[in-house]
Amino acid sequence: VTASDWQPTVAHVRATTGGVLLAVAAVLLRRPDVLVLATPLLVVAVWSAWLRPRRNPGVVQRLGHQAIREGEATTWHIDVTEDPGAGDDLGRAEDVAAVLAAPSFSTLVPRAGVVCDVVRNGGLALQVSVRSARWGRRAVGPAQVVATSAWAAFRWTAPRALARTLSTLPLPAVFDSSAPPVHPVGLVGLARSGRAGDGNEFASIRPFQAGDRLRRIHWPRSLRTGTLHVTSTWADQDSHVVIVVDALNDLGISEGIDGQASSLDVTVRAAGAIAEHHLHRGDRVAVHVVGAKGVVRVPAASGSSHLRRVLDTLSAIEPGTDLRDHARLQFGLPAGALVVMLSPLVSPLALQRAFTLATRGMTVVVVDTLPPGIVEDDPDDPFHGLAWRIRLLERRRELRSIQHVGVPVVQWRGPGSLDQVLRDLSRHAATPRMARR
């Protein structure tokens, strides 16, 4: 839609032509009663022409927020302003209507995205509420804005504005884990290490040694025993968690936050939940996305701002846009990192990658995010259900073989999904093992 000047509408053509034709007929045929029939059309035509706007209004469109969470809403604003120099003109834009098309997985209020009102005091502000029901980045707008003059006789179409990108961050699923970290290596975070050092967790009261800080002296015990004692603590340590997101495909039907979840919905929300859990504990979290173009890697960091970065990256995932075999690519993972791979485990590439990491000595946990009900029969395709059942039988065999290599596979069930397997891995990490290099 391009900008235009004020154009006469069909209504104005009808009023002008009809009114003049009827009036001419009335005069020529000497029928004053026909002049009565022409009167409303002539009055409207003259009135409309008298109030024809001289200047184009200004229209500014903007989006209330650039990023929201799933299920939240923002507002598309349309501000219409009259030209300040039009003060001496009678004609002005009177009614303004705007239509905003609904992006995918979004609902609008009003539902059809159509809003209209009259221009008052030289301006008008219209709003359309946009509620996003699924994570992702989507273009919103622009709204098509049309102004009409008195009696809808002249119409002006606003120049096309720019669309805005709305990032809908995934709403992390509920997740909690009480399992100890597998390989705590850093000196921050809430995980208690196995060795003494600076921290908050009380370890013991022991005799003073050279190098101990004076503020650690435990005076009651020192006075009682006659020798200096200090309070020792366990070192607070963090762990390095790498979340690998399989975005090679998106299986199942996605109905947004309010309905059925696809495999990628489960994967992304689970990744957000795991990242949020570990970042709140002070761990360092990195994210790798497999099978999607764009930002596919978030380097390890900690803190609440890092969670926003992780969620922003997850929201930008476009599944299946990069189907190269990543098995040979290097993650650049440090030793001791815990790799959590979230995948529906339908593509062999994801399992291949988990296998490669495990054989290099990394601690890998695979979380199965295949949603239930994927094998339901399709009435339009009799082989759909059969094909899925065959594929799932193959998948079961592949999972057994990767579990034999030592890679645990767990179903995503929200809180506690990883507890058992992480405890097992912690115990296993304490034992000597051989890695194939």
Binding site: P8, V20, V24, V34, V36, L37, T39, P40, W47, W151
Partner: protein
């Protein structure tokens, strides 16, 4: 084909807001009221003309941006010219108001589309202006009733003056409508 059109019409009808539905009903009813006034004034009726107006009114209600509205007005006026002899009948006022309703409802229906929900200020402004037009139509009918029986001398001069005024009005309307702002 017909089933598809019916489906489209059904979907379009469901998408209409209550206000838009009211406007479309007015677009549908107003030509029939004007035609009925013509039948009452002429003391006769025509089935084919009625069917023609009904079909055209349905099309106008479906597509308010259609030029068919002008054709409906012209057909109604032609019938009036041909069939009605009593220039002082009160049915003229009814027909004039019906034409005003028809035009205003069509124009209003095109402002915000089928799903547009009008604000109270929009309704108030349109109703106020419509009342003014109806008042002027009623005034013109009163003048017409008063002057219709009067014998005015110099009818040629009056005719020429009326034609000149109409021409000037038409030219002014055209110039005002088509000029660039």
């Amino acid at each position: 084909m017909i089933a598809d059109r019916l489906d489209d019409a059904g979907r379009g009808l469901r998408s209409l807001t209550r206000g838009q539905l009211s406007l479309r009903l007015l677009v549908l009813a107003a030509p029939l009221v004007a035609l009925s006034a013509g039948f009452a004034a002429a003391d006769g009726w025509s089935l084919w003309l009625t069917l023609l107006v009904i079909v055209a009114a349905i099309e106008c209600a479906t597509r308010p941006e259609s030029h068919l509205g002008l054709a409906v007005v012209v057909v109604l006026a032609l019938y009036w010219l041909g069939a009605v002899d009593d220039v002082r009948t009160a049915w003229t006022l009814a027909a004039g108001v019906a034409i005003a309703v028809f035009h205003a409802a069509m124009a209003a229906a095109a402002v915000a589309g089928p799903a547009g929900r009008w604000s109270r200020a929009m309704r108030a402004r349109w109703l106020g202006r419509f009342a003014t037009v109806v008042g002027l139509t009623a005034t013109s009918w009163c003048l017409e009733v008063v002057l219709a029986g009067a014998q005015i001398r110099g009818t040629v001069i009056v005719l020429l003056a009326a034609m000149a005024a109409l021409t000037a009005t038409a030219l002014a309307l055209r110039a005002r409508s088509l000029q660039s702002p």
